[in-house]
């Protein structure tokens, strides 16, 4: 009984955490889209597209790496916290 309400609370928090992670992804993707948009504008106006592309080449990967690191940590934590539990049970 006690355990069940615990799990339900965990579920809520877990979804919240998932949401936060996806928010970060949305943020990163938004930035990427914005930069791409600017590039397309500069290409249309033929207004120094080179620079725009160069910058995007640096900026976009950076943001994606950051996001993926976070996801990596999050996933890493959860995947293995279970296995650890199994280990402890095994003892």
């Amino acid at each position: 009984m006690n355990s069940t309400e615990n799990t339900s609370r965990d579920k809520i928090i877990f979804t919240a955490q998932l949401a936060s992670i996806s928010l970060i992804w949305i943020f990163v993707i938004a930035i990427a889209i914005w930069i791409l948009n600017l590039i397309s504008v500069s290409v249309d106006l033929n207004d120094a597209p080179g620079i725009s592309i160069a910058i995007s080449l640096v900026a976009i990967p950076v943001f994606f790496t950051l996001a993926s690191i976070l996801t990596y940590v999050f996933v890493g934590f959860h995947k293995n916290s279970k296995s650890d539990l199994n280990n402890t049970l095994g003892d």
Binding site: I31, W34, L66, S81
Partner: protein, 447 residues
């Protein structure tokens, strides 16, 4: 296992106290700060309503305090992430109580600094044009991108190492358990989790350093990309970065000393920490002087007339007082204070750090205003007097910084507890091992 845990808690109780015990002092400070911030906000609204006329800016001095403070704050922000990253990379063991404070500075100041260009806009209502019709060719856009990147990176870099501590708070129960539970991302302290976390942190600290460097380089580009005398200089990138780290360290020292005093952390922040850091400060001061020297020497030696107008404006003209006090604050005072053992007390270091912060602000002032005040054409030289609006927004910005810091320390430990523990448990052995590893092995007895 369990008893050990309780023991450690007792040991580091000092670090938890500020979170759980709230004195009248806290409310008082927060109240005062809020009032200052509200006033500043009012002044800003007024500015938006009437137009930038309420500032002291004019033609030809079209940029004033806002841009100066923008550069200044972003500079300060280099305290944290960059320094802690370097210290982590170089496995400097004394870093452990410092890194968190440093990183928090970054996160907060960066947010403040990043807002300044928007405060400076004549039409903030149109700021979204940057997204619809932006031009990546404009250095301003480079700033927007690099600052966003740096901000995300450093917040992440602040957050990840905090997870274990948050977990501790969660386990302690008491207030905001859910909140901490949410933030702790299910940290159990298992070996695998530790491994994951360390790996992430290691990747981050490698990544953060170039980003941080790029940020201030790009900010210097705002100026050096124009053709204006005194701005159009290749040295600006590194010059700004050095200046940034310089002021960053000073700011960090001030913050450390402040918290040491307020939260009685003498036990964690020992004199040695300050002395190590201040040595770094001394080095930066020398480096800064070297850059300043070469910057102006090239100008004077070339003696291009318009360059000279600007330089004389700083050396002997209306800005002489700011320029020379900058030199005194950034170079003479720090060098004198920090190179003599007997001055190298907490007080001495605090004094030096404060002068450095002021000095670095003056440096930004000396970079922005004189070049604008001396246009190339024969229009006579302009003058700039900041108005009340600009002053109050400056003070307001500082207030926001302090408030942010105070609130942070209300919810999270400002010294990384788990790293301290880690230090206690492993580092001594580890350091021993490491030192052994670079000592020559026992001589083989040839028998």
């Amino acid at each position: 296992m369990t008893e050990e845990k309780t023991k450690t808690i007792d040991i580091d109780e000092a670090l938890y106290r500020p979170i759980y015990e709230t004195g009248r002092g806290f409310y008082l400070t927060v109240g005062i700060l809020l009032m200052i911030i509200l006033f500043a906000a009012f002044m800003y609204v007024r500015q938006v309503y009437y137009g930038l006329g309420v500032t002291g800016m004019n033609q030809p001095v079209t940029w004033g305090f806002y841009i100066v403070n923008f550069v200044f704050f972003i500079g300060i922000s280099h305290a944290g992430t960059l320094i802690s990253a370097i210290l982590r990379l170089s496995k400097a063991e004394w870093r452990r109580p410092i890194t968190r404070m440093a990183e928090v500075i970054t996160a907060i100041v960066l947010a403040i600094g990043g807002l300044h260009p928007i405060i400076d806009l004549g039409r903030p209502d149109r700021v979204l044009n940057i997204f619809t019709a932006g031009r990546l060719q404009s250095p301003l856009l480079w700033d927007v991108t690099s600052i966003t990147a740096y901000f995300t990176a450093s917040t992440v870099y602040l957050y990840l190492p905090m997870i274990p501590d948050i977990a501790k708070l969660r386990d302690r129960g008491g207030k905001l358990t859910r909140f901490y539970d949410f933030l702790s991302w299910g940290w159990q302290g298992t070996d695998h989790q530790k491994k994951v976390l360390n790996r992430a942190i290691n990747i981050l600290m490698v990544m953060v350093i170039p980003i941080a460097v790029s940020v201030h380089t790009v900010i210097s580009y705002i100026f050096s990309m124009t053709l204006q005398p005194g701005w159009h200089s290749t040295i600006f990138g590194p010059y700004f970065v050095v200046g940034a780290i310089f002021s960053g360290i000073a700011a960090l020292l001030i913050v450390m000393i402040a918290f040491r005093k307020v939260f009685h952390l003498e036990n964690y922040l020992k004199l040695i920490h300050f002395q190590y850091l201040s040595t770094l400060l001394l080095i930066m001061s020398l480096l800064w002087f070297y850059f300043t020297f070469s910057e102006y020497l090239t100008g004077i030696f070339g003696a291009e007339p318009h360059e000279m107008d600007v330089i004389l404006y700083k050396f002997t003209g209306p800005y002489a007082i700011f320029f020379w006090s900058m030199v005194v604050f950034n170079f003479i005072i720090p060098v004198i204070v920090l190179s003599f053992k007997k001055f190298k007390t907490i007080k001495g270091i605090l004094f030096a750090s404060i002068t450095v912060v002021i000095g670095m602000w003056l440096e930004r002032l000396n970079i922005v205003i004189p070049s604008l005040a001396n246009p190339r054409m024969e229009l006579g030289s302009g003058m700039y007097f900041p108005s009340l609006t600009e002053w109050s927004l400056f003070v307001g910005a500082i207030a926001v910084f302090v408030l942010g810091y105070v609130l942070f320390s209300k919810f999270f430990p400002i010294i990384s507890i788990w790293e301290i523990e880690e230090g206690r448990e492993e580092s001594i052995k580890e350091v021993e091992k490491r030192v052994k590893s670079y000592l020559p092995g026992p001589a083989e007895t040839s028998d």
